[in-house]
């Protein structure tokens, strides 16, 4: 907590994680489970009803009446149930010669009748909200009538950016290595309901084919920025996602460009080919960061989970990844952490680290801000 972080805490990729996920309703409602229950990812654990949508009709205007007259011409009162197109107000003038009516704009309940504006508001049927368990696991806490907490032991792989919300399915590995292009030719009908694991960059055609095949999710290393925009149908401006409804969620483990998936992430997922998993593409890269993730529960496991690495230590010998050009995506080991600020090619004076690149053995100087620690 004390230190000023000069580098980015890495994404968590571990085979032994204790995972707790909070399942919270938007409003208090009904909880369907109890503490200690074993649940499956698809099982509903809580439900509620949100107030229905509201539609208005200006009865004074429709009946050419004054607002004060509106209560007198209404055929229903506040709280009454009405059906769409049903006559809710009626006026007659000149001994019934002129007849005006107003109809309900939607089915629902009359909420207010305003004598000030002549407006009548009708609230539609409540909107049901059901929440599932998200992952196979155990209910470890129930808070009031709003919140359920599910706990599971299993593997966890965080991504850097996701699209779409939660999904469940069996893992199906498509690529033979972490740097293999995830292309359309790899997508078959057997991908339906599966969490597809690619390798390096995933192509737009592959994503579209995955949607057509009704795949639950695609997990791959990277994508080209223009192809992601085409997939979404708009340019992604900020990394706050999760609400997209494209049919198939996407988790990118590295980012944009031709970047292979981190080997440890690929191997973790490949070793679990065919296993049930849960994916959440929701991402928030702001304060209170939310990362997309793949959770692979291990039912019945009792082992002690690996502790989440403290986002504190960067020391000589640390494994890091470089997250900015000119060495974006390369793995390295820290060999020196100079105390003094050093001048980098941009002429900025910054805190740096000297790191040995894993693939070439070359020692290079990098701003600490451009390092990501590799957490297990």
């Amino acid at each position: 907590m004390r230190a000023t972080h000069g580098y980015t805490p890495g994404l968590r990729v571990t085979e032994r994680a204790l995972i707790r996920r909070v399942r919270r309703l938007p409003l208090p409602g009904r909880i369907h489970v109890q503490v200690g229950d074993q649940v499956t990812a698809e099982q509903l654990v809580a439900s509620t009803e949100l107030p229905g949508n509201v539609a208005n009709v200006n009865v004074a205007h429709e009946l050419s009446a004054t607002p004060e007259d509106v209560p007198g011409v209404m055929l229903f009162g506040e709280g009454d149930r009405v059906e769409v197109r049903e006559i809710i107000a009626e006026s007659r003038a000149f001994w019934g010669l002129f007849h005006s009516i107003a109809r309900a704009p939607i089915s629902g309940t009359i909420e207010t009748i305003s004598e000030i504006t002549g407006q009548v508001l009708v609230r539609g049927a409540p909107i049901s909200v059901d929440i599932d368990a998200y992952t196979d696991g155990t209910v470890v806490d129930v808070q009031g009538t709003e919140t359920v907490i599910i706990e599971t032991r299993g593997a966890l792989a965080q991504g850097i950016l996701g699209i779409g919300g939660e999904a469940h399915g069996a893992i199906k590995v498509l690529c033979s290595g972490p740097d293999e292009l995830c292309h359309v030719g790899l997508i078959t009908e057997e991908c339906a309901d599966c969490i597809l694991v690619g390798g390096g960059r995933v192509t737009l055609d592959a994503l579209r084919a995955a949607v057509d095949a009704r795949a639950a999710a695609v997990v791959s290393g990277a994508i080209d920025d223009t192809e992601l925009d085409e997939f979404l149908g708009y340019a992604l401006g900020v990394a706050i996602t999760g609400q997209e409804d494209l049919g198939t969620s996407l988790v990118l483990t590295e980012g944009f460009g031709d970047t292979p998936m981190r080997r440890s992430t690929f191997e973790l997922l490949a070793a679990r080919d065919g296993r049930r998993a849960s994916v959440n593409g929701a991402t928030q890269i702001r304060a209170g960061v939310i990362r997309p993730e793949v959770v692979v529960p291990e039912p019945g496991a009792t082992w002690d989970a690996d502790a989440a690495a403290e986002a504190m230590g960067l020391s000589v010998g640390s494994d890091v990844r470089l997250i900015r050009q000119p060495w974006f995506g390369r793995l390295a080991e820290v060999v020196e952490l100079p105390e003094r600020l050093e001048t980098i090619p941009t002429e900025a004076e910054v805190r740096v680290a000297r790191v040995r690149l894993e693939d070439t053995g070359e020692v290079v100087t990098v701003p600490r801000a451009n390092l990501e620690t590799i957490e297990q």
């Binding site: 907590m1 004390r2 000023t4 972080h5 980015t8 107030p51 949508n53 509201v54 539609a55 208005n56 607002p67 909420e111 207010t112 305003s114 000030i116 504006t117 407006q119 508001l121 609230r123 850097i160 950016l161 080209d224 920025d225 223009t226 992601l228 340019a235 992604l236 401006g237 900020v238 990394a239 980012g255 944009f256 460009g257 890269i285 702001r286 304060a287 209170g288 997250i323 900015r324 050009q325 000119p326 974006f328 980098i344 090619p345 941009t346 002429e347 900025a348 910054v350 990098v366 701003p367 801000a369 451009n370 990501e372």
Partner: protein, 642 residues
């Protein structure tokens, strides 16, 4: 802050919950700072930002207030900490270490100063947790709704949406919008006093029907401020009595010719303290520590810029370009305006800058031709890894190109809102009668005296010339304009400090915060490159420098910080430096760490259409100012090739 609010109903919390502290009880708990005749000897000030909490220590040394040290730590509003004071204490602990002065005891700030320990006062600003988020409702978008928008922005808020009768939405869409957004409060305006009532109540009915919920603290009622037609007050309060915690203040648009934003602004800030801050994790404790009300960060910056404009009697534009948002402040002829461009920033929002500006607009500022695919991917990678910094020169120039576009777009948005009042009847001549009664922007670039830049990309540019050039390219100042940057972004802390000691805030602002870059002379007008544009004669002490600068060039004359040059500017007949086309101007140019910049590229600034020619021109301008190392352009080419 005096309150003109007439409170109809106060918030009631859930049973058993701590009542939100009221302003009175909050202040009542404070001890007077010091005796009247005793000056403040030291002040600690923090700014709790969304990601970082910054602390500065100011000390009175030999009769002058000076910045001693600055410390920072991650903000701790979010999980797992959920207590803003943890981040504050960490930042203060860093100040302790750097200054060698004990400031903390038992997890509290020692006050008042005891010997060499503690400080006499502690103040803070906050934009943590997304800052203050307000939804605005009015009748006509360009009139009462726009006035309400200005009031909310002036109070330091982010305006989430503006609902108005003419916003092109149907009622159910407005209701849906209110329900899906979760603002901190809603500001309702509408109708001049004695004017339209029914439509105002209709809008209030929509608010009631939406029954919107507050962003923080789900169990308390959403604060709603009504600042509209005085005759609609009772009706509006009747409509909203079950749906919200309503406060009524003076109409912010009492007549078409008048805009009175003060009471609404004050009430927004009051409710920010009472409701939003009181619900945010750790803030009740933080509020109990401070010797002045916690201010929203942008409000503090705005008040400082307003004070500078007033003190010097000048027109000022201030900009704070952050990772997610860009704030623009202006004071022209004493009128203050602020806008916030919520998705224009240098890291979290940098992809949105690319999306809004377009690739061509980004590329036009580069002296190289980067591969568009790689450029797009690099920018997206910056968005998802926002704390990284450019390591290569080509990366630096790409970020600076993005900054130019973010600043330009944010300034355009500012000019659209910082206008004369719309809807006011004016005497119009026959030509006007055929046009729309559009309101004039208050932003007059020829009358602008000073541009102050703030935010990482400007404050931390490796060469100050780069910051000057980014601001000139984005804002296109005309005539004679001073340029400055905030050295380490401490304007928020100084803004709130001014509420308890204007003297301390002013002294630190001029001595430690503001870094004068110099002066820009830029004739307005256009002509072909190489055509005669301007003759500038600068008298600096005993020396005189005279030079003719043709169109399409940049020149830099040495003029150090503290130096003043008497300049005679003689433009050719196509150009205007403030007195009209072809008319000479005499002015005083103040120096700075960059110097005196003569910019004859014309206004509006036009770049060559041909890519090769444009790159060559950009290179020449960079070279003239010494903006980048000479290798920058070659490095770019190499990086692309690799």
């Amino acid at each position: 802050m005096t309150r003109s609010a007439r409170t109809l109903r106060k918030v009631s919390g859930p049973p058993g919950a701590n009542p939100p502290p009221t302003r009175a009880s909050h202040q009542g708990g404070r001890q007077p700072l010091l005796a009247d005749d005793q000056p403040l000897r030291s002040v600690l000030a923090t700014d709790c930002g969304s990601t970082t909490t910054k602390a500065i220590l100011i000390e009175l040394v030999d009769g002058e207030y000076r910045l001693r040290v600055r410390g920072e730590a991650p903000t701790t509003v979010e999980a797992p900490y959920e207590d803003v004071t943890a981040g504050v204490l960490n930042a203060v602990a860093e100040v302790e270490e750097l200054s060698g002065r004990t400031l903390l005891h038992d997890g509290e700030i020692i006050r008042p100063q005891q010997g060499a320990e503690g400080v006499d006062a502690y103040v803070s600003t906050s934009s943590a947790g997304g800052g203050l988020q307000v939804m605005v409702v009015g009748l006509v978008r360009s009139m009462t709704a726009e006035s309400a928008q200005r009031a909310a922005l002036g109070a330091g808020a982010i305006v989430m949406d503006v609902l108005a009768l003419d916003d092109g939405r149907r009622d159910y869409e407005r209701i849906e919008r209110m329900r899906e957004l979760r603002p901190d409060m809603i500001l309702i305006s509408g109708g001049v006093d004695g004017g339209e009532t029914r439509k105002v109540v209709e809008m209030a009915e929509l608010v009631a029907a939406a029954n919107p919920r507050a962003r923080l603290g789900a169990s308390y009622e959403l604060p709603v401020i009504f600042a509209g037609n005085v005759e609609a007050r009772e009706l509006v309060s009747h409509v909203l009595q079950r749906a919200a915690a309503l406060t009524v203040v003076d109409n912010l648009r009492p007549t078409m010719e008048q805009e009175r934003l003060g009471p609404a602004r004050a009430e927004i800030q009051e409710l920010f303290l009472q409701h939003v801050m009181a619900q945010a994790p750790g803030y009740p404790r933080l509020m109990s520590w401070t010797d002045a009300d916690i201010m929203p960060t942008p409000a503090a910056v705005g008040s400082l810029i307003e004070a500078v404009a007033k003190r010097e009697g000048i027109n000022v534009v201030g900009v704070d370009i952050g990772g997610a948002t860009t704030d623009v402040f202006s004071v022209f002829a004493g009128t203050f305006n602020r806008t916030v461009s919520a998705n224009l920033g240098m890291s979290y929002s940098i992809s949105n800058v690319l999306a809004e500006a377009g690739l061509d607009n980004m590329l036009r500022w580069l002296a190289t031709h980067p591969d568009p695919r790689r450029l797009g991917n690099d920018i997206r990678n910056k968005m998802i890894r926002p704390t990284t910094i450019p390591q290569t020169l080509v990366d630096l120039t790409v970020e600076h190109a993005a900054a130019r576009e973010a600043l330009r777009l944010a300034f355009e948005q500012h000019k659209l809102l910082a206008t004369e009042l719309k809807g006011v009847q004016r005497q119009r001549d026959i030509a006007d009668a055929f046009g729309a009664a559009g309101a004039q922007s208050l932003v007059d670039m020829k009358a602008l005296d000073l541009i102050v830049g703030s935010g990482g990309v400007l404050s931390h540019a490796p060469r100050r010339t780069q910051a000057a050039l980014m601001m000139i390219d984005a804002f296109e100042p005309q005539g004679v304009t001073r340029l400055a940057v905030d050295s380490i972004f401490m304007m928020p802390q100084l803004g709130v400090l001014a509420t308890i000691s204007e003297e301390a805030a002013t002294q630190v602002f001029y001595r430690d915060c503001l870094i004068p870059l110099g002066t820009c002379i830029a004739p307005a007008g256009t002509a072909w490159p190489g055509a005669p544009c301007v003759r500038v004669s600068a008298h600096i002490g005993a020396d005189t420098i005279a030079l003719d600068v043709p169109c399409g060039e940049m020149r830099l004359l040495p003029l150090d910080e503290g130096q003043v040059a008497e300049v005679q500017i003689d433009p050719t007949r196509r150009f205007d430096v403030g007195a009209g086309r072809g008319r000479s101007v005499s002015a005083r140019a103040t120096g700075g760490v960059v110097g005196l910049i003569i910019d004859t590229r014309g206004r509006p600034l036009a770049l060559p259409a041909d890519a090769e020619q444009r790159a060559e021109t950009i290179r020449r301008w960079h070279e003239a100012l010494g903006a980048y190392p000479q290798s920058a352009d070659e490095a770019g080419a190499e990086a692309v090739a690799s």
